[in-house]
Amino acid sequence: MDELLRDFLTETHESLDTVDSELVRFEQEPNNAEILANIFRLVHTIKGTCGFLNLPRLATLAHAAESLMGRFRDGMPVTQNAVSLILSTLDRIKEILDALERHQSEPSGTDDDLIARLDAMASATPQAAAQSSGTLAYQVLERPLKPGEATLGELERAFRETPGPAQPMPADSDKSAERQQDGKVVSQSIRVHVDTLEHLMTMVSELVLTRNQLMELARRQTETEFKVPLQRLSHVTAELQEGVMKTRMQPIGNAWQKLPRLVRDLSADLGKQIELEMHGAETELDRQVLDMIKDPLTHMVRNSADHGIEAPAERRAAGKPDRATIRLTARHEGGHIIIEVLDDGRGLDTRKIRARALSGRLASEAELEKMSDAQIQRFIFAAGMSTADTITSISGRGVGMDVVQSNIDQIGGTIDVKSVPGQGTVFTIKIPLTLAIVSALIVEAAGERFAIPQVAVMELVRVRGDGEHRVERIKDTPVLRLRNKLLPLVFLRKFLRLGEAAEQETETGFVVVTQVGPEFFGIVVDRVFHTEEIVVKPLASKLRHIHAFTGNTILGDGAVIMILDPNGIATAFGSVRAGVIGVETAAEAGPHAQDKNKTALLVFRAGSNAPRAVPLSLVTRLEEIDVSSIEMTGGRHVVQYRGHLMPLICPGDCVRVKESGSQPLLVFSDGDRSLALVVDQIVDIVEEEFEIEVSDGRPGILGSAIVKGEATDIVDVGHYLPLAYADWLGTSTPQRTRRHVLLVDDSAFFRNMLVPVLRAAGYAVTTASSGQEACDLIRSGRAFDLIVTDLQMPGMDGISLARVLRAESATAQTPLIALSAMTTPDMIERVRRAGFHDFVAKFDRQGLIAAIKEQADAIISQAA
């Protein structure tokens, strides 16, 4: 293709994108003369160049559009129709440009339709006589200026002073020289072909490798005169690398350029009012990464506008402003870029996603039942999911978030979604700054070296058979005790099937503590070398199916080594922990728990057809295990669970462990102890206000309630917790005097939730539903060892209660623990001053137990 034509195409495409977004801005700020001047100048430039290159069709179109814009300048009101017309003219220009690019000549055809409309609109006002000739200076305004308008002279000046495109126009050299003379803008940048930069990057990568090689050689020799120049070479290389990386960096705004226009058109098409906010457009990232996320971002914004944002009527009904917002944010965060796409629309419809997942056979009913809303929402990233009832021209046909996810996967990024029904959805994308060079830890297993990306490495722990840290086993599962936590381990030898089977699990070596998402695990290796900057080279297509590796690289000594993929290794863990479906604790699962007046109940069947329920907040996990993994010990059913033996308890005599298949379990954890209730079937999670009728004294039953029209027994978990452990461990806790705790909370839900937990921890519990009731109890002479109170209560709140209690002689010294959903430093300070001994976040059951124990122990030591 003609060099001149190619330059023209590249440049015009860029200009048009700018005009697109500028026009949208202009529509909103019709009095902004600067924007108008800028648009005018760009269109004028296009027109001029077209004439120069002899492209009559383009020139005529641009001329007509320019004329209409000239009318704006003359004070014609800027209407949405007019802007739409100009935008469609720009679209036509783009079409012609595309054809031009393919065939290197203007396509045949006529634009009379558009030109007629443009001319009609331009001459629609009385000042039609003042026809714009397309050049700037000859226009005379035949009326006084309105407020906010600029004079033609000012516009002309604005036009001349607005910085032009950074590059000189593709024109003969005389002309561009002329431009440089009279134009005040001297070009500070040059246009370089991407291939040139790519080649430069490859060469720098090679240089980095060679540098590493030399450094490796020098390391082996103690005395060498090469040391100093090598150091210098190393520094220069590093700087060169940084410099070249910089040339590849582009502001993310480049990927956003088309979005204002997109959102504007969508708003018009869909009859919605949508405002697009963009923050952090200047955040820079690698060009390659930028290219990969451009389409996903566009797709997501489109999705938000189409599916996420409601029609104005629906918004009004929901008490929201008509005007919806889509907010794009980008920022740096430790070697990564975080991009958020937020909308204040209706949120994801979990019910619909669930139904779609079911009909698409992505999960079974039983699996879905055990999932939290957040887990179900993740199905939108699965192939073939689209929750819009009608397929619209805007969001396509089910080609959706799965493509977005796979694009982001390809660049080693992650995407997550959070959605609150009725309030909106936010997608968070985390992607690496660059793909080419990463820092990696070089390790060895069975004599072979591997690289682990440094970003995934949290810490290194040395393990020895007799050392402080050693590999322990629960049956055959290797774990490591690390700061009171059990870290699941994977032996790299075994995972990669290296060496002899017999020696695959050694007792000495290093544990590379790795984090993938929220999961921590340890990779056991024989040796750890050093950290090296490695140039990631993609795996050959024949090896790409091996999920253990993300790529390979050449080390300083010339050897090729494989780069381990922590994600791939983590999925291997998933299969080791077969059957574990629920990983999120129910209490954290969703907004349920925050609703004070409602109680979420988990309804299940066990033993009979009559439904039973437990407060969902008490259930730590829902599990389904293979019956074959259940073992019998001492006449008891147990199962290995997260590094512990967990007793299985049948709630009631008629409940039996299944003979075959999978066994659903409700897992309750208290500290590091867990027990599981054996149930036949998990039915539902119901969130309602319940009237709980007091128990008729059956053991293990708190009472009953009508749940969804059926009488349902509420199971007393507190009954089973001590029951399981007292005889399971064979050591019933010594009957020391039970501490008496007063629990003050206005929410029945929290009282229900905490009482069994506290009882299970060995405390006698009395409850009060208000500050006043607590005071009355104390004044009536009841003595408590410890008082736990909510801070936010109607009437007398926690702080006031504390003041009262401190003033009472009976309770002046009683340890006080505050519970609150809000934990701001300010709040903590207020709580301290009011005389509380401790402060615990409301959902932190373990924290509460620990705090109570600490205070109770303090009483003992004071007494001693």
Binding site: E206, L209, E448, L496, R497, L498, K537, A540, S541, K542, L543, I546, A548, F549, N552, I554, G558, A559, V560, I561, M562
Partner: protein, 151 residues
């Protein structure tokens, strides 16, 4: 494929075990000795490993395994470098012979009773004075399906 062979009738001959094979010279980049090869855990059986060949990472394919020729590959390994789809591969062989011009007169179609794996990758057979030479189709040789069949 036969037609393209007639267009480039020169072949690099290689030995695997006692069998002589021919590779179209147009596809052969170079011949090199394998050194410092890194094996790839969990890779298919016929992937010998990866090596650094002048700064490029080359995937070495064990032709003996891929073709199902009996016997063990020798210690001092030679490889024929080829390119496919922008990637570099090394076909590991026992020995490299010579560059040979083959006339269409000696060409025979692939015998129907040839070993399945070999039949898939062979584009013809030549009757030579001192034995039979099997012409290999490089693209089909690299096709993953073959290794699945071998597995």
């Amino acid at each position: 494929m036969t037609s393209s062979n007639q267009l480039s009738p020169e072949y690099v001959t290689v030995m695997i075990g006692a069998q002589l094979f021919g590779l179209p010279i147009a596809r052969v980049q170079d011949v090199f000795v394998l050194s410092q090869m890194t094996r790839v855990p969990l890779a298919p059986d016929d992937i010998a490993g990866v090596i650094n060949l002048r700064g490029r990472i080359v995937t070495a394919i064990d032709l003996r395994r891929r073709l199902g020729v009996s016997g063990e590959t020798q210690r001092a390994q030679m490889a024929v470098g080829i390119e496919s789809g922008g990637e570099s591969y090394g076909l590991v062989i026992d020995a490299v012979g010579e560059v040979m011009k083959l006339s269409s007169e000696t060409a025979e179609p692939v015998p129907v009773n040839l070993d399945e794996r070999l039949k898939l990758v062979a584009s013809g057979v030549h009757r030579l004075d001192d034995g039979l030479l099997v012409v290999l189709d490089v693209d089909r040789l690299l096709d993953l399906k073959i290794s699945e069949l071998a597995a």
